[in-house]
Every structure is written in C-alpha cells, then in structure tokens.
Amino acid sequence: MSNSKMKILTNGILNENPVLRLVLGTCPTLAVTTMASNGIGMGLAATFVLICSNIVISALRKIIPDQVRIPCYITVIAGFVTLVQMIVKAYVPSLDKALGVYLPLIVVNCIILGRAEMFASKNGVLDSALDGLGMGIGFTITLTIMGSIREILGSGTWMAGLGGLIPALGSDFAIRVIPESIDSFSLMTSAPGGFFVFGVLMAGATWLTTRPKKEKAAAPAETAEGGNA
C-alpha cells in the first residue's frame, strides 16, 4: 500500500478524528455511549454505512447533477442505513434494543454526509473507501473509549452486553472493574455525564494534537470551534 493511501486511512484516527477534531456526529456519540459495547456496535454500523455510501457516491460522482447532490446522497445513505437496520434487527436484537432510535438516525449523522460532500464527491472509489474505513475506525475507537469511561465509572463494569455482539461469550458477559461494594457514580451513565466526558475527551485530543506545534512556533492553536450545525 502506497504512502498516500496509508495517510488517507490513518487521517481519520487522530488528526481528523471525526468526533473529537471535526466535531461531527455528536448526537450518537453522546447518546449511545452509556456502555462500551453499544459504542462498538454503533461504530461498526456507522462504519459499514460510511464505507458503502462513500464507494457508491464516489462511483456516481460524475453522474449526479450538482444541484440535487444532497438529496441524492441522502437517498443512498438512507438505503444503506435501512440495510443495516434490518441486519441488526435480525442478528443482534439486543443491540437493536440498546441503540433504539439512534440506529435509523445514522441517516442524518453528519459524519456520513460530511465525508460524502468533502471527500467522496471529489476522489476515486478506492480512496473514498479507505477514507470511509479510516473515519469509521476513528469513530468506533472514540465511541468505545467514551463508552468505557462512562461504563466503568457509572456502573463499575466493562464491556457488559458484548455477549449480544459475540454470542460465544454468553449473554451475561461483563468484566467487573470496580467492586460491587463501592457505590457506582451513576451520574456518568446519564445525560450530564455524557456531555462532561465528551468535553474532557475533546480537550484531551486538542492537547495531544496541538502540543508539539506550540513548541516549534507561535502558530495559533487550532481549536475545534463551531461544529457544523
């Protein structure tokens, strides 16, 4: 694999991490990360949609007229999301229940439309597939880290519910990190904990990516300002 292809793939993991640096797809990030296993499930579902829609949109980029491109992208994305919904409902019903309305809401996840608009509509099929994979991995890792923090602090377990994804583990699989005798910090699994952990993680990512720059020159630190509304 050539260097530039590798760069496209790794771009999404830290430098252009969709959640922490580009601030896209915040809604599912906050909502489903009460457990690490939900984060993995959501991440994988979104990665699948991201790769498929990037491939299709990139292949059709010369056919789709410029004026109606957004409705076209949304239709392609919605088609793949429906596919994922059916697969998850059939094979991983526990995940379907845990993700609830956020599974169909992948359609309006800004990461997917954002990558279609920013990358797939301008690049070749292979590059777009790699970009989708890289962004998807970045998204999945971030969701898993955030889910782990919230789950360990909030309920004292780790990876509970993973049995739903991997049947070999059994349905009541969970790793207990904090002993049951210590009261868990249940606020972490509710809404305020989500915002708080997300804020702290984002600060961490900003610190990690801007720190070396500051030593070299007085270049103004890039902040993840704005979001995409």
């Binding site: 809604c27 409705p71 429906t82 804020g199 600060a203 993840a224």
Partner: protein, 205 residues
C-alpha cells in the same frame, strides 16, 4: 384527553428535553447557540418543521406504509420508514423555503439561513420516528412534536445565556472553545434532571 396532551407537552419540554436528556440536535445546539437571536430563530424554524413533518409522516406511515391490516403480511412496508421519512422531510423543507420566500419574505429573512440546515437535524427525523414508536395517535403526535420544538427553544435560549458567561471565563488552553462549552452543557443538563418526575406529580398521568 386534555390532561394527557398537557402531560405529553410538558414532559417533552422539561423531562425528556430532546437536547439535554436525549442528545438529539446537539450540532445546532453547539453551533447556533452563541447569540440569543439566532438561537431563537433556529428553534422557531425547527419547531415549525417538526410539527409540519409530523403532520405529513404520521398519516403516510399509518395509512400507506404500514396500515393495520397489512402488519405482518408481505404488504407491510414499515421497513421503508427511514428512507421515506428523510425524503419527506427534505422535500418539506425545500417547499417551505420556496413558500416563505414568495409569500412571507419577512419570515423568510428571519428563518431562511437555518432552513437548509434543518434537513439533517436529527431532532426532526427523531421526533417523527419516536412518535410512531410510542404509539401516539395523530393529535398526540402533533402535541409531542410541538412540545419537542418548544423544549429545543428553551434549551437553546437558556444555554445561549450560559454560554455568554463561559466565553468570558479564563480556562486552560486545551479547554478553550467547544470542550468548556460541553462541560457547561453538562451543568445545564444536570439542572434539567431536577425536573424528573415533576410532570407525573402534577398531572398524575
């Protein structure tokens, strides 16, 4: 009946607030809440589209996609929900934009810039799907959508106030911008948790 509608309405505003409790519509919440007037404009546009979208999607789902007699048979098209709803919302937003531009230019000027953003706002698709998941009838769905919109307005207005103070605070370099805003959002969300159970206590439904 009226009691149930009131209970749904206030639950959507205070207890199940879409932004602060269900994490829907976080992007505009973080992006547009910097100034009070744009926060109000965006929320009004969202409320309007939400009610319109519910009024359009509810009959289409219950009468065309998955009518009662078809559930469980091959005619059940319920799985098309996502793709049909998002297209309806996209068309609706476009129609609304053209309509306002032609007939109510003043309103178009106020809401115009927010309209294109609304298609990909997850509160709209969220409210239309959740209404059906909860088994609400048509009137309940409309009330629920209106409540969700007003709840969005309340959260945006409150948070734009919080944000003005946060912007002036001195925070560590890496927390500047969004991270500290999210921590502030955590505090706002925490205060909304205090409303838990209040609606059930008042209306007894």
């Amino acid at each position: 009946m009226a009691l149930k509608l009131a209970s749904i309405f206030f639950t959507m505003i205070l207890v199940d607030n879409y932004v602060l409790a269900k994490f829907l519509g976080i992007c505009p919440f973080l992006g547009v809440s910097k100034k009070l007037d744009s926060a109000v404009g965006m929320s009004l546009a969202v409320t309007f589209v939400m009610v319109m979208a519910t009024a359009a999607t509810w009959p289409i789902y219950t009468l065309i996609l998955a009518p009662e007699w078809a559930v469980g048979t091959a005619r059940d098209l319920g799985y098309l929900q996502t793709i049909v709803f998002i297209l309806i919302i996209a068309i609706l937003v476009q129609l609304l934009e053209n309509f306002l531009k032609k007939f109510i230019p003043a309103l178009y000027k106020a809401l115009g810039v927010y309209l294109p953003l609304i298609t990909t706002n997850c509160t709209i698709l969220g409210v239309t799907i959740l209404n059906l998941d909860n088994g609400y009838n048509f009137i309940e769905s409309i009330v629920c959508a209106a409540g969700a919109g007003i709840g969005f307005l309340v959260a945006m207005v409150l948070f734009s106030g919080v944000r003005r103070r946060v912007e002036q605070a001195i925070v560590p370099e890496c927390f500047k911008g969004l991270p500290i805003t999210l921590v502030a959002a955590a505090m706002t969300s925490l205060s909304f948790m205090g409303f838990g159970g209040i609606v059930t206590a008042i209306f007894g439904v």
